[in-house]
Subunit: 724 residues, 2 copies
């Protein structure tokens, strides 16, 4: 039998704690030791025979250079707070409300080239000759305005504190430690310095085997406010807001023949959130930035390779422009990708990237005193073992469906010392990971036939992710759905509305899921005013396809309906304009295939007020507060279900599996390699005839599984994995 | 002292129950006896020396004529159910889902002149040459359609059962009793017959002193379905849907030079609901119908007058086109108006009509075995005395503010016999009404200075009413607000957005209330995309005005905000597009002037999800489920409040009074002629120095009232009225 106690594990080492580092490396079977933001490795560690990952964040790596080149820092557009005019002149303070340690007004470039002033009452831009900027007071004065209208300025701000560094600094009370700045790599001088710096770094770090880029150049959007009661003014894991700067804007215009305006980024103060349907222009900007990031990024990776080192990329933080699911990602030449994970969908996100050899997951908890929301982890009151076991349960089921190559931790290793139970548990997890990896390495798990397609405005570019972690926006239905799907025996694909419009719906599609609030990239917003899209989906279901709509699926108020596939779903939503239109008085079905294992699943759902059934043929499987929350409708040869919301749980995961079987009219799929007990799940690897059964709870569980060779009965200890 | 035991009371008499009729007439102090739908008066009653009201419903009065003139019945447009095309041809059954006893397809007039076929997937009309109607199968076949789009037909239907008659017939199981039909008065032949019939009627009914029209010609919209689970397909108390017919449509086009299309009525299946913002075209149609109703109605009234009889109009049922708050109402020459009332706002609605001498309220319960929702009233299990006392409490407070001249009952008198406590109670109520009327007749009640203006799309045309009764749509915030306002010591006015745009805000306006869901006539819908409107309201508050916004006030998603007066209110609503935009973390105020008497009023409010405060200056007076439900903001010299909902109660009424005093910065108004105990209210008549204190509950209450002459302390029995 193979040795499952060693390898595929990255340990965060820490200078000054050499003994501990080497002891834990042995205990956890690490083959690689890494540094982290705020820690260093000593010679004793780097020369101990382990592979060495070194994290570098190239944009903030050379702060001395940054200080001398403050005109080459990264920038972005900000919108000033709206000011109501009380006469025909209005004075607008630009920086009011913004965190002065993060932003300064760009006073170098001509405001008239990039800034815009808007009458936000009419939505019209104010003429360039009507306003002037006073650099002294940092105000814009607008003349000939309409009294009692409100006005804002879109202006360029220079960022003087790199956000991840800023967050870590403030979270860990780093006091007087230098503020690191993010340099803008589009300037030739910056590129030259980055190459020089990286070369120098490679030469000075001969023990490093893997350079871990954290990540490339542009962080996800994170605008801070100066009021502690509203610190995070704009925060979006997938937004390109922080890629705008004069040079890029000019180059874009030169290349495309048209301009990105400040308003394309500011968008009336809503900025460019991943949750919103992207404009065509914004998608082109993303593509423009992605091309640059790949082109210049490749130079850095080539340089790393020239020193005989590997280059990995961290799929977080400054990942904007990297786009691991984009068409150019493989061109970087990265050897590996590292995803930090709290949940199963993130394991799939990391594991599903093509064009790299190694997929690594950085587990949680991060070795910091506190977690992301300030709760104690490696500090008095914390229970890191419990945290780790919950995260492992989240992730394990996803790893049964799609393997990764490595796992690891990050942070300050010395913090684990007072938590020996945590140290023991990580040893267990690492061994179990290696065992499971060995199955997956040689075999595909059994999967129900046919594709389950998640249909959004982003499609495959945002495979397995909406924007950020589940705990950041737990109310995003699609993130919850992805979490359930991440461990189910299904073939999941991601498709955009543009894909459907251009190429139609692939023949192997069995079920389409559309889940989100009206106007979101997940539901589709104005895409649902496109008659071709509606017709294609209508035909898909009429001809036998399955459709699951969640929250406000296919929603766009037009032509007397709100859900544009209301005829397919059998339900619509009335926001008030149909107050006087009669609503069918349904009765709730007593039982159904879909809710067989989770009779009360409807109680856990959030009501979407105003949802009503269209006619007597629609089956209501559950209602709440007098409103249907789960419905089913036969449409032509196909079947559609409506769910008012979706929140991840073991129950909802089972319910979703049944719903997918129901709408794809493949209910018998529930009779093979599915645990009877929804607290447990299993994966079967036909090629090696291995069945893995997992207990997703902290209690002992029994499970019966129908297999092709008959029933298998298993009893599982809390959180246990059973293999036969 | 005057006699308060006689007069101003209309009793429903009933042939066959002559003794009872005359006994109750004496007990209740009736001066007038009336008939009702389904009852007749005998000679013994009509000759007993009472005034005699006779109800006539002129459109259904001569059913024999109607049967012989089926081409002159009333009509309306219906939309067929949407049918999804599966090929390039689609066949649409017109009548599917409609109640066949109410509607038949108009097969007489050329469908191509009036009907329209729509592709409801694109919203485009299908060319006239692409469809044909088969009168045999009552289907429309549409050719050259786009497969998988859905199609509907707007068609003219003739109504063969007058709706009130239909409702009463079905509710009271009238079995084989003839179905009455509504004739269309626009045809000269119909007019001729109506005049002939009315003349004949007047001659045959010499004892009748008052002809009570029920009402004029067009009922409020009421489309029935054939499925008992969805009977009321469209029901709107203020809609002109049932005024459309070929003759009217042609006359309108001739007069205006442009056409009302079927779609102007059908509106994608939403029809023309009073709750929705009316289009300019629809308002013109209303005006066109109103002019006709007044012109021809006046001829009938003149005829009644020529017989020495008075003419009253019932402000319900077939009231469409009558418009008692319209500019032409006084031209009818009516002598009186009768409003049926459940609530205080309806008492104000009836009492506030100008241009008639007599205002009468028809009280509830109606003398029917069951109430409007089928619950027993004058039947086993019913408690009509309790019903009557609740209604009286609702209405009494409104009568203290604005008097009416008469009250009465309706229905089958014999049903009261088994309920002597009801009979005694009505005697009490009638006496109390006469006493209160005597005060009001000679004096105005004390009222807080300055106007409280309700701002809607309808303005004064829909003074004191949204659409229908409170119990029909108890979730309409504005109806609830009107109910509270109906008994408060305030000078209430109604203003439309067009009024504001054309004439500005009158100088005596202290507070403006805007209350409703986005898109509704009450909130304003696209009116809030008008920058002038926003500016005028902004200026009003900035210069010292008060503003109260409820639910989704000033809502129209535009220019980065949802509430267009968010800068005034200090709150806005995020429907998801600002998911990644930071929201200010407010704290809830511990106490406030506004919530002083109703600390927990926030608990009774409905959360409007996504409402957030804009900045630190906004005061949150209450939150629920983590969302602000009552907020206050100082804007310039003025003040604005946001309430997430409003439901009438004694508590919410007090809260509203305080909110109005707060935003108008007149908090000291609470210190004069306001009961300290919110279960009681009072009215003071300075001219006659009378103070009336009422107990709005079924429990004994104590009240202290600050008056100009000092404190008054009163103890009130359940439901009692105290006068000093």
């Amino acid at each position: 039998m193979a040795d499952f106690t060693q390898g595929s594990f990255t340990l965060p080492g820490e200078a000054g704690y050499e003994d501990l580092t080497l002891r834990m490396a042995k205990k956890w079977g690490a083959d690689v030791i890494r540094d982290s933001d705020g820690t260093k490795l000593s010679d004793e560690i780097t020369s101990a025979g382990y592979g060495i990952y070194s994290t570098i964040c190239i944009i903030r790596a050379d702060n001395a250079w940054a200080k001398n080149n403050m005109d080459k820092l990264q920038q972005n557009f900000l919108m000033s707070i709206p000011v109501v005019a009380e006469s025909d002149t209005v004075v607008i303070p630009l920086m009011q409300g913004y965190f002065k340690e993060q932003f300064v007004v760009n006073k170098k470039d001509d405001p008239k080239e990039f800034w815009q002033v808007f009458d936000r009452t009419t939505g019209e831009e104010v003429g360039l000759d009507q306003w002037s900027f006073d650099p002294e007071t940092e105000t814009v004065t607008v003349t000939d305005v309409t009294p009692w209208h409100k006005y804002t300025v879109n202006f360029l701000a220079v960022r003087i504190w790199e956000e991840i560094s800023m967050y870590n600094h403030i979270t860990n009370d780093w006091g007087n430690k230098e503020h690191l700045m993010a340099t803008e790599p589009r300037y030739p001088e910056t590129q030259e310095n980055m190459i020089r710096w990286l070369k120098d770094w490679c030469e000075k770090n001969p023990d490093t085997t893997v350079v871990r880029f954290t990540s490339m150049f542009y962080n996800f959007a994170w605008f801070w406010g100066d009021d502690l009661k509203n610190r995070s003014l704009f925060s979006d894991w997938g937004s390109y807001a922080m890629t705008a700067n004069p040079l890029a804007l000019r180059e874009f215009e030169k290349e495309k023949g048209y301009k990105m305006t400040s308003e394309d980024f500011v968008n009336g103060g809503e900025y460019t959130s991943t949750h919103n349907v992207p404009s065509k222009k914004y998608r082109e900007w993303m593509d423009f930035i992605n091309r640059f990031v790949v082109e210049f990024g490749k130079k850095l990776i080539d340089l790393v390779h020239s020193y005989g080192k590997k280059a990995y990329v961290f799929y977080d933080d400054s990942w904007i422009g990297v786009e691991p699911y984009g068409k150019r990602f493989k061109e970087f030449g990265f050897d590996g990708i590292i995803k930090c994970v709290f949940n199963g969908f993130e394991a799939r996100l990391g594991g599903g990237v093509e064009g790299v050899e190694a997929h690594e997951l950085r587990f949680h908890p991060y070795l910091f005193p506190t977690g992301l929301t300030g709760e104690p982890t490696f500090a008095p009151g914390g229970n890191p073992k419990l945290d780790a076991s919950k995260y492992w349960v989240n992730v394990r089921r996803a790893l049964l469906r799609k393997p990764v190559d490595r796992i690891g931790l990050g942070g300050y290793l010395h913090l684990v010392e007072p938590f020996p139970d945590f140290c023991d548990y990580i040893e267990e997890v690492a061994n179990e990971f290696r065992l499971l990896k060995s199955f997956n390495a040689s075999a595909e798990p059994y999967t129900v036939d046919g594709k389950v397609v998640v249909l959004t405005a982003w499609g495959s570019l945002r495979s397995w992710i909406c924007s950020g972690h589940l705990h950041e926006h737990p109310e995003v239905d699609l993130t919850n759905i992805l979490e359930s799907l991440s461990g189910l025996p299904l073939d999941v694909a991601f498709m955009s509305f543009d894909d459907v419009l251009e190429h139609g719906i692939p023949a192997d599609t069995k079920v389409i899921i559309n889940a989100g609030w009206q106007g979101s990239a997940w539901s589709g917003g104005d895409y649902w005013k496109n008659a071709d899209l509606i017709a294609k989906l209508t035909q898909f279901v009429a001809e036998g396809g399955g459709f699951i709509g969640v929250n406000e699926p296919t929603a766009a108020a037009a032509n007397g309906t709100y859900f544009q596939l209301s005829h397919v779903l059998g339900v619509d939503r009335d926001l008030g304009s149909k107050k006087c239109i009669g609503k069918y008085q349904y009765r709730v079905e007593e039982s159904s295939f879909v809710t067989e294992d989770t009779k009360n699943i409807g109680d856990s759902m959030k009501v979407v007020e105003g949802v009503y059934v269209l006619n007597k043929d629609v089956k209501v499987l559950a209602e709440k507060e007098g409103t249907p929350v789960i419905t089913m409708n036969t449409f032509g040869k196909g079947c559609a279900m409506y769910l008012s919301s979706f929140r991840f749980s073991l129950e909802s995961t089972r319910f979703l599996m049944r719903a997918i079987c129901q709408v794809s009219q493949n209910t018998k799929a529930m009779d093979l390699y599915i645990c009877d007990n929804l607290n447990t799940e299993c994966a079967y690897y036909p090629a090696i005839d291995k069945l893995v059964v997992i207990n997703n709870t902290g209690d002992e569980q029994k499970a019966v599984i129908e297999t092709e060779k008959g029933k298998v009965e298993v009893t599982l200890k809390p959180f246990a994995t059973h293999i036969q």
